[in-house]
């Protein structure tokens, strides 16, 4: 029963405030999929009793840190794990209140899918808009809208359909291709793991069934070959005197032994001689594998450089337009120089222009802003000291994303997605 090694991995993010029942939903998924251990359940049961709650408060399963248990809030992204015989799941559980934007962006950056919770009594709220917008901004192709607390609206089909229609209308402005709607009660478990007898009008599968079967493999880019060099392996031992292995994780595309490749930014070309995973030689490498490649001839190639194909290369840019999420308590300063970290490369940079801020509740542009503060999302232009090798984020999450780092505090101050490659360098 424990041999689950042939299944894939699904990373998803959940967002919502305490009142949405997000923690209860996660607790329910863990509990009903039997991913909760007895000692964890005992701890939660005794905590529930202490708080004077009848029965077991499943939301207590996901409260991590002391400060959170005391204040009843979630202050940071927490990662949860569960597995069914069909799949392994990683949940990035993001809080709804404090620092919600920064945490949602963080959770969404590594996710394939987002679960958005809507309280059936309240319908779409501002936070529904911002969660959906952030999912779209971070390029999530799959969204599951869980209309929760159906027990409090008598499992009304009309109410469910109203919310579905409202969400479809709203999301037509977003860039999400696959949206699924499920009526649930996290508290009672309706349509979470087991199909509910209370919603005979609902013909779709349960949430867990959808998570187990949703196909995310096609989201990977297998066309554009991009291999950022992370580290150069030079053993300098007697057995491997001249070995030079270019180590890294394939960002996109399929690299095969014998393929012609171009080293960027030098522009020198070579052919792939060998591809290694550990000591074992393989014929091809594709995302998200970590490999080491050797080339037919010695060329200039080190950390921060990239291998691509001669007829399919990233753009070399010194001027980038991007949407950023500001992560630091210290606001963006137009005069400050930041380190731009992009794949394995770093470049000095400064913000050349703030195009506009985006109100993430209304999705409206706010023009004429001169300062960007924590949790704000803005579209900006960045000038870099050296050429950066980029693709549009919608086509390539690895070569289309970056961080800004404050060189004096070493803090990560912003995360960005490159969204316009028409700007001339």
């Amino acid at each position: 029963m424990g041999h689950t090694e042939h299944n894939g991995l699904l990373r998803f993010t959940t967002a919502g405030s305490v009142d949405d029942g997000k923690s209860t939903l996660i607790g329910r998924l863990l509990y009903d999929s039997k991913s909760i251990f007895e000692d964890q359940l005992e701890a939660v049961e005794s905590a529930s009793n202490q708080k004077g709650i009848d029965g077991t408060d499943l939301s207590l399963l996901t409260d991590g840190l002391k400060a959170e248990r005391e204040q009843g809030i979630t202050i940071d992204v927490a990662y949860r794990y569960f597995a069914t015989p069909k799949r392994k799941f990683i949940i990035a559980d993001t809080p709804g209140h404090i620092q919600y934007t920064r945490n949602m962006v963080t959770g969404a950056s590594t996710a394939d899918l987002a679960i958005i919770l809507i309280d059936a009594r309240h319908g779409l709220l501002e936070q529904t808009h911002r969660h959906s917008f952030i999912a779209s901004l971070l390029g999530l192709q799959h969204v599951v809208v869980c209309v929760n607390k159906m027990d409090l609206v008598e499992y009304s089909e009309d109410r469910f359909n109203e919310i579905v229609a409202a969400y479809k209308e709203f999301s037509s402005r977003l860039d999400i291709t696959d949206i699924k709607f499920i009526p649930i009660s996290a508290l009672y478990g309706d349509n979470v793991v087991e199909s509910s007898e209370n919603t005979p009008w609902y013909g779709g599968g349960t949430l867990l069934h959808h998570l187990e079967t949703v196909h995310v493999g096609a989201d990977r880019n297998l066309q554009d070959c991009r291999f950022p060099i992370q580290y150069v392996i030079r053993p300098q031992t007697d057995a491997h005197r001249d070995f030079r292995g270019y180590a890294g994780r394939v960002a996109s595309g399929v690299f095969k032994v014998g393929d012609e490749v171009v080293a960027m930014p030098s522009g020198q070309t070579s052919k792939i001689k060998e591809i290694f995973v550990g000591d074992a030689q393989v014929e091809k490498a594709f995302p998200p594998l970590s490999v080491a490649m050797t080339l037919e001839n010695d060329i200039d190639l080190s950390r921060g450089d990239m291998l691509a194909r001669p007829n399919n290369q990233p753009s070399k840019r010194k001027l980038l337009d991007a949407k950023i999420c500001w992560l630091s308590e210290t606001p963006l300063n137009l005069g400050t120089k930041y380190i731009l970290r992009h794949t394995s490369s770093e470049s000095q940079s400064r913000i050349a222009k703030i195009h506009h801020e985006i109100d993430i509740n209304t999705l409206h542009r706010v023009e004429g802003v001169s300062e960007i503060s924590v949790n704000a999302i803005a579209r900006i232009q960045i000038k870099t000291a050296s050429e950066v090798l980029v693709d549009d984020y919608r086509r390539n999450k690895t070569t289309g994303s970056f961080l800004l780092i404050d060189p004096s505090t070493h803090q990560t101050v912003a995360a960005g997605v490159i969204d316009d490659l028409n700007t001339q360098a």
Binding site: G2, G8, D76, Y231, I233, G278, R341, L403
Partner: protein, 303 residues
Amino acid sequence: MSDASYNLDHLTELEAESIYVLREVAAQFDRPAILFSGGKDSIVVTHLAAKAFAPGRIPMPLVHIDTGHNFPETLEFRDNLVERLGARLIVGSVQATIDSGKVQEETGANASRNRLQTTTLIDTIEEHQFDACIGGARRDEEKARAKERFFSHRDDFSQWDPKNQRPELWNLFNGKHAPGEHFRVFPLNNWTELDVWNYILRENIALPSLYYAHDRVCIRRAGQILAHSEHLNLRADETPEMMHVRFRTLGDLTITGAFESDADTLEKIIDEVAATRITERGGRMDDKRSDSAMEDRKKEGYF
């Protein structure tokens, strides 16, 4: 293009992620080290490091904090592994820390050197000026670890501030730091206990014999089975007896609970782990001291 041959099983995906993290450490830090406890998680980290830098050697030393209460099997295993990999080993001794008067040995029936390790660990980090220490901890182990980063920043006093961690987005890790600060790095963050065991089986990784069911003289205490040894202070009502046991985690002799088992192969262990309904650390006396025992120790600079 959606050729099925490009689908990866989740262990391959986790392995690729961990190798990426390990190479990132080698590239971003001047003096990294692997914290090696001799337990299965640090053995898996070492195995992944060997794969990450093959055919070269692991470009960082293994650091073992020896409490003096280790299982002899663990030490023998450690020395064999280091020799086979051609790796460098650095040992920090809790006994030396006690002898120097920096810490006091705990007394009483439940005395353990678990907490004392933190001082020795921090001293070792400072002595060798390590700027990144790689550990085998996983987010699924304990609730305070669920929010841990891959690159976890520690201040000049090796302290962890859970409210002031750097945001970690995509696979872009920011290891920049001032002199004296360092990072703890956790390549196995996204692995579960079952993933680790399935990977050990798939890669045929050797483990200390303690993980497999064997005959051992033990005592029962507070619902737990502890190995009988010279380091364990026996109470009047405790009688050592021979049992058929194995260990699920390997900490100190004095605190690591054994349990009765017939699982003497990896396949049997995996079946047993999958069917078990008690968490791995449920057998660790050190975590039972309070509800936030792990969080408090992590803030001080524990593993």
